[in-house]
């Protein structure tokens, strides 16, 4: 029984968390990561067995008395369990080495397995109560991890913003489940599935699910906490939060909208597509403007989540209009991207952690030239960068390609609104893909290439073997998923089948292991052959040139244009690299302005260039809300300084108004 095995894993994780609080041995770190690794691997295997054994469910006498908590593993939760436990296992392996550099391990060790247990429980829950309790447990344990380095500047603020947004998001989910439960309050998922919601309440539930799950996943404009909180945690926890917890949020959206809410309406796709499309472009544009290495990655998570939601929106549109095959393609693209992003975002956060360990720096402007000191890390991070930039033959391209194929099927949609929206969203996706490539050229180029900008970067050393092996394994998985996308697509087929009642054609039987979403005359892609052709022609060219022409190499100073001894500061920086893009896009998106303060001739003070950039989500949404809250707090504050007579009259007024309500209540 897969569900029993999964629950035992959760129990093991929770037990580890408790033991990590109690035990004070110096080797506790190794033990915690070791047991957690074992638990996640078992969870991974058990989730796989669901593909064979089918759905399993169990009710445990936990939680509310006489009611119990219901758990269930079906295809959808099994897929997400696989993603979460796979990413978590890599993070544990990484933690073996990375965890040793932790100054205060007690602040991390208990919460790490607890956080994993929370994510697993959300995926296992089969009633709204268990789901929400697990969701809150997941939020709170990750909040504790965000706060583990609470003395570093900015982290306490990040935790504060995070907990507010998490609470608001959970509130939305709570209300959504309340609507789904209907007038009789059936809070089990099976009953919700059986009860068809009215069109009105279904629309409300969609909005609430988009808000609740979207705030956890980082959809614009609910993303503001994410780039603060994800980088604040230790790097392997950042990998869990960015790579996996956002996927749990996607799961929540899928569970509510695709599973519990009943057959979709076409207009549901409109908000999902619009929000997803805007999120992809804004997320990556924000990422391009950041100088903090981990914050770049956090913003890029927002972009990728947008892409996933575009896929989900397309799937909704196709499913509502009666094109199940196209819906299966769009949903496969979204789920494939969920899998891919979990891999390469974990990889990149591991790489960021390695850079942090080696140099103590997260600011890209203070790094550079790490490729010489950290050969392994630089190779695996390069693999991650190529993958996340959606370049063939790695896995990011495969899912992006499927998403484009799904968009190309959408002219058959009958609704005019979608006919106009989908091409615009397609353009946004293409724009985001190109911007992502720019973003990761910038990240890799500034951090790993060039000359070291500070002594810390110059003295970097390669990280430990545990961290290296974790990164190598994940990088290899990125490559395998990229050159054999057919295997992943076939693996996703039962999940897709369970949600939209159709699946993509079987891919593994196609000659040469090609990927053919619809028909060969329509489109096909062969990651394996592209990989082989590129590798073969590159090696052939290198071999031929080295043997037939020349292989001599001479080292010389770089071309200095006649001005020798160019200092380190003459290199391009992260800011200057992004300057053209900021000028092209930032003037509208960030209202970016540049002010040059040029001293008059004769004045010897340095000239100054100030760049101002605004986050419009803060200015137009959160700023007014915060101002309103503090205004209300100010006004209510006066209530604390009244005389006893005024308090008594207040009590009397409250009593009268309550009695009035009672009298007027029908």
């Amino acid at each position: 029984m897969a569900v029993i095995a999964e629950l035992w894993c959760v129990a093991l994780l929770l037990g580890t968390a408790v033991l990590a609080v109690i035990v004070r041995a110096p080797a506790a770190s190794r033990a915690v990561y070791g047991v957690t690794l074992a638990a996640t691997l078992i969870g991974f295997a058990a989730a796989f067995s669901t593909a064979v054994a089918g759905t399993t469910a169990v009710t445990l006498p936990l939680g509310l008395p006489w009611i119990g908590a219901r758990f269930r593993v079906d295809m959808l939760s099994a897929f997400f369990l696989i993603v979460v436990n796979l990413g978590a296992a890599a993070a544990c392996l990484y933690g073996f080495g990375y965890g040793r550099h932790e100054h205060e391990p007690k602040r991390v060790l208990p919460f790490f397995p607890a956080f994993l247990a929370g994510m697993n429980l959300v995926l296992l829950a089969d009633d709204a109560f268990t789901f929400l309790v697990s969701w809150e447990f997941m939020s709170l344990s990750s909040w504790a991890l965000v706060m583990s380095h609470h003395r570093e500047p900015g982290n306490a603020y990040a935790g504060y913003v995070y907990i507010i947004m998490a609470s608001v998001g959970t509130l939305a989910l709570l209300l959504g489940f309340g609507l789904l439960a209907g007038p009789y309050g059936f809070y089990g998922f099976a009953e919700m599935r059986a009860n068809a919601a009215t069109p009105m309440s279904a629309g409300l539930v969609l909005g609430l699910a988009l808000f609740g799950a979207g705030s956890k996943a980082g959809l614009v404009p609910l993303h503001v906490w994410l780039p603060l909180a994800h980088p604040a945690a230790p790097s392997h926890v950042s990998a869990l939060m960015s790579g996996l917890m956002t996927k749990v949020a996607v799961y929540a959206f899928l569970r509510i909208v695709f599973d519990l809410l009943g057959p979709p309406e076409w207009w549901w796709a409109v908000p999902v597509l619009a929000v997803g499309g805007v999120t992809t472009v804004l997320g990556v544009l924000y990422a391009l403007m950041q100088n903090d290495l981990k914050r770049v990655l956090a913003y890029s998570t927002i972009e990728n989540i947008g892409l996933v939601f575009v896929g989900l929106g397309l799937a909704l549109a196709f499913a509502a209009s009666g094109f199940p095959a196209a819906a299966a393609l769009a949903l496969t693209a979204a789920l494939f991207h969920v899998f891919n992003h979990a891999l390469f975002k974990s990889l990149l956060f591991f790489g960021a952690g390695a850079v942090l360990t080696a140099t103590g720096e997260r600011n890209m402007e203070r790094l550079g030239g790490l490729i010489h000191a950290m050969p392994v890390t630089s190779v695996v991070v390069l693999v991650g960068c190529v993958a996340i930039s959606a370049l063939p033959p790695l896995n990011g391209f495969a899912s992006e390609w499927l998403a484009f194929q799904a968009i190309l099927l959408s002219p058959q949609l009958p609704q005019w609104g979608l006919k106009l929206l989908v091409p615009a969203v397609g353009a946004l996706l293409a724009l985001a893909a190109a911007l992502a490539a720019a973003c990761f050229v910038r990240m890799f180029g500034i951090v790993f290439l060039g000359r070291p900008r500070t002594p810390a970067a110059a003295q970097a050393r390669e990280v430990d073997r545990w961290s290296q092996s974790a990164m190598i394994i994940v990088a290899a998985m990125c490559l395998i998923a990229g050159i054999l996308p057919g295997a992943v697509i076939d693996g996703l087929a039962p999940v897709v089948q369970s949600l939209v009642h159709d699946r993509m054609p079987v891919q593994l039987g196609i000659p040469w292991l090609s990927t053919i979403p619809i028909a060969e005359s329509r489109s096909s892609y062969n990651g394996l052959l592209v990989f082989l052709f590129v590798t073969a022609s590159a090696s052939l060219a290198a071999y031929a040139i080295h043997h037939l022409a020349s292989h001599a190499v001479r080292r010389a100073p770089a071309w200095d244009c006649g001005f020798p001894n160019a200092g380190l500061a003459t290199q391009y920086t992260a800011d200057s690299f992004a300057e053209p893009i900021r000028r092209v896009f930032g003037a509208y998106v960030f209202r970016a302005r540049e002010h040059v303060d040029m001293p008059p001739p004769g004045d010897v003070r340095p000239a100054k260039l100030t760049v101002e950039r605004h986050d419009l989500a803060w200015e137009f949404i959160y700023g007014p809300i915060a101002a309103g809250v503090s205004l209300a707090a100010d006004r209510l504050n006066r209530m604390q300084f009244l005389t006893i007579r005024q308090y008594l009259s207040l009590v009397f007024l409250a009593l009268v108004s309550l009695l009035l309500v009672l009298a007027l209540w029908p």
Partner: protein
């Protein structure tokens, strides 16, 4: 199944693009020189340049990394594979289904990704300026290209270049507004992608105005040769792309004999000559624009592409 002849034809195409690419570059240079009444270098000069560079030792900057030495071959390989997948004289080749048009664009994107990294490896300001501007151009050129692909794919019902060319060849398409918009956008993107005037100047020697040349400034010897060859291949690729979609006449269809293939090759050579001549004329007639005018230029291409796609979405007849 006749695998051997199919393999031979595919191999011929791979070698053909590799061998023709420098010739096209030399031809364009020669025509440009003649148009301004210079004598110009011989048409075969690019081959001689490549051979000369290949025989020379490679001078590397002192802090160049291993990546700097690997990247030329990666750029060459991705560009060559992409160029070999675009139909030149025949459609439906053995491996034509390996990558559709989106994948070909992405392969070129990969080449650009690595080239931009190479520009940043040595840590000079020229490399940085080139990379930074190149990725800025790419952020508009790539989505524009994807929109053009969308338009073609929606007309042909396929992203396979062979299928698109086959449909265009069957002349059931006729003149369409969306095709016209896509052609204009594609020419604009092709000019930008190949670093031609008015976006960039392939013959410039002033560092501050360079984009492509600034990124490869540190390269020499065999590395430079391979990168130059890749650049020629890219020019050939875009010409083949425009030719096979908008001027498909003469393309040999699968299952035809040697005669058809030869006709296809002659037609291909004629198309390249016309294309090269037009490119040279255009470049001679126009001035290079400022760097920050390029986003307007490419933004226009993106909007044209989006408009063409929208037209295809709302109506089947445009």
């Amino acid at each position: 199944m006749a695998v051997i002849p199919a393999l031979v034809v595919q191999g011929t195409q791979m070698l053909l693009v590799l061998l023709l690419a420098p010739l096209l570059t030399g031809f364009v240079r020669k025509v440009k020189a003649r148009l301004v009444r210079r004598l110009g270098p011989p048409v075969l000069q690019p081959y001689l340049d490549l051979l000369r560079l290949l025989r020379k030792e490679a001078v590397l900057a002192e802090n160049a990394s291993w990546l700097f030495r690997v990247i030329p071959y990666l750029i060459f390989a991705t560009t060559w594979v992409a160029a070999a997948l675009v139909p030149t004289f025949a459609i439906g080749l053995l491996f034509s289904w390996t990558a559709d048009l989106i994948a070909i664009i992405a392969l070129l994107g990969a080449a650009r990704f690595f080239l931009a990294l190479a520009g940043m490896d040595v840590g000079t300001s020229f490399g940085g300026i080139g990379s930074s501007r190149e990725v800025m151009f790419a952020t508009l050129a790539e989505p524009a290209m994807i929109m053009i692909v969308f338009t073609l794919a929606l007309i042909a019902g396929s992203t396979q270049l062979s299928s698109i060319a086959g449909l265009m060849l069957s002349s059931g398409v006729g003149l369409r507004v969306s095709l016209g918009l896509a052609l204009i956008a594609l020419i604009m993107v092709a000019l930008a992608e190949n670093a031609r005037v008015p976006v960039d100047n392939p013959a410039t020697h002033l560092e501050l105005t360079m984009v492509h040349e600034a990124m490869v400034l540190e390269y020499s010897g065999r590395h430079l040769a391979v990168i130059e060859l890749a650049a020629s291949l890219k020019l050939l690729l875009y010409m083949s792309l425009i030719a096979c979609v908008f001027l498909p006449w003469g393309l040999a269809v699968p299952g035809t004999g040697v005669t058809a293939l030869l006709v296809g090759m002659v037609a291909y050579a004629a198309k390249l000559a016309v294309g090269g001549f037009l490119l040279a004329t255009f470049e001679t007639a126009i001035a290079k624009m400022r760097v920050f005018r390029v986003p307007d230029f490419l933004g226009a291409a993106l909007m044209l592409g989006l408009l063409a796609t929208l037209l295809r979405f709302v109506s089947r007849s445009f």
